[in-house]
Symmetry: C2
């Protein structure tokens, strides 16, 4: 029973918060900063969220989740050559997706780094995001096995986790070494993918 305008205010807060958190980190982004850039007053903020962490959780679930879902999962068609598809997903994520700013890394990875050990609820929400990606990659690999394009003794879940951790790692290293490290990474990543054939 919330008005369209109220829902818009809420979403606006979450989206602006997401951008600020992406660039500054969660704990170092203040509520005052969020309401300043959102042009929303403190009363409105704390009307929609009972505290900062509740907002943070909503931000993960309602903005980060769907956004990452689009970038990560929908980039995986899963019908042709699995290794090629996975490579293309990674390449487009690292080099083509205009959302990401190299020096700021990946918002989801950053959030895991900062908040996983600090807040159990955040940990769960972020874990679900990772698991979704994991499942998408796992599915791609399993289909690959049935059509004989992936080695039968490949462990899809294990491989999926390895790929995700590689992604997180290069997003982090890219913060200090910049784009060239992305290129190097992709080159070795391709070699690894070939071990799965």
């Amino acid at each position: 029973m919330s008005s369209k305008k109220a829902a818009a205010t809420r979403l606006n807060i979450l989206q602006k918060a997401f951008e600020l958190v992406y660039q500054n980190g969660y704990r170092t982004t203040s509520v005052d900063e969020i309401i300043a850039t959102t042009q929303v007053t403190k009363g409105a903020f704390f009307y929609h969220f009972k505290n900062k962490d509740e907002m943070g959780l909503a931000m993960i679930n309602e903005v980060m989740q769907p956004g990452m879902r689009k970038s990560l999962i929908e980039a995986l068609p899963s019908n042709g050559n699995p290794t090629e598809e996975i490579y293309n997903m990674m390449e487009s994520l690292l080099l083509k997706d205009p959302f990401f700013i190299i020096k700021y890394g990946c918002p989801a990875i950053n959030m895991v780094e900062e908040m996983a050990s600090y807040n159990e609820a955040f940990n769960k929400a972020l874990s679900q995001l990772v698991i979704q990606w994991e499942e998408a990659i796992t599915t791609t690999l399993e289909k690959g096995k049935t059509i004989g394009k992936i080695n039968p003794d490949t462990n899809p879940k294990e491989v999926a986790q390895y790929i995700i951790s590689g992604y997180g790692g290069i997003r982090n290293l890219g913060k200090i070494h910049g784009k060239p490290s992305y290129i190097n990474y992709l080159s070795q990543f391709k070699k690894y993918l070939n071990t799965l054939k």
Copy 2:
């Protein structure tokens, strides 16, 4: 021309700060917190460091650098089988080194994640740490090439960066998935290393 006691006070601050930062992050560890656990007064703290960031930089260079150096670089003997040595280094880092707490990840990686884009001086100091590790791995691989244990068209520097980013990634993912992800990672890491032979 500083007394032994003064030097001890300074080092004590840096070491306690390192532990706190490892578990809470740099920006969310306050000077008050550091001096409380160090049993040092504010006067002493700001006598030794002109501000928090100068302390942070000293912490990276004087505590994190040598500590990581010991864990990372000296774990690489570099005379026998290079792929085996690199695998062992990674395994001992992830599973045997008693310093690391899985849910808190790796202090150096955390610091890169949090501070690389926030402070240029921190970025440089952390970058040097990473480059040292990179060089150690590169050397191992180059020696491996001369004795014919590493494929001649392997690019050692590129591989070293890939390995380091993988390490950072799994330290991060381990925060939400725990130790099993370390095991999975090592299994796939071994497969990757075999592509270098």
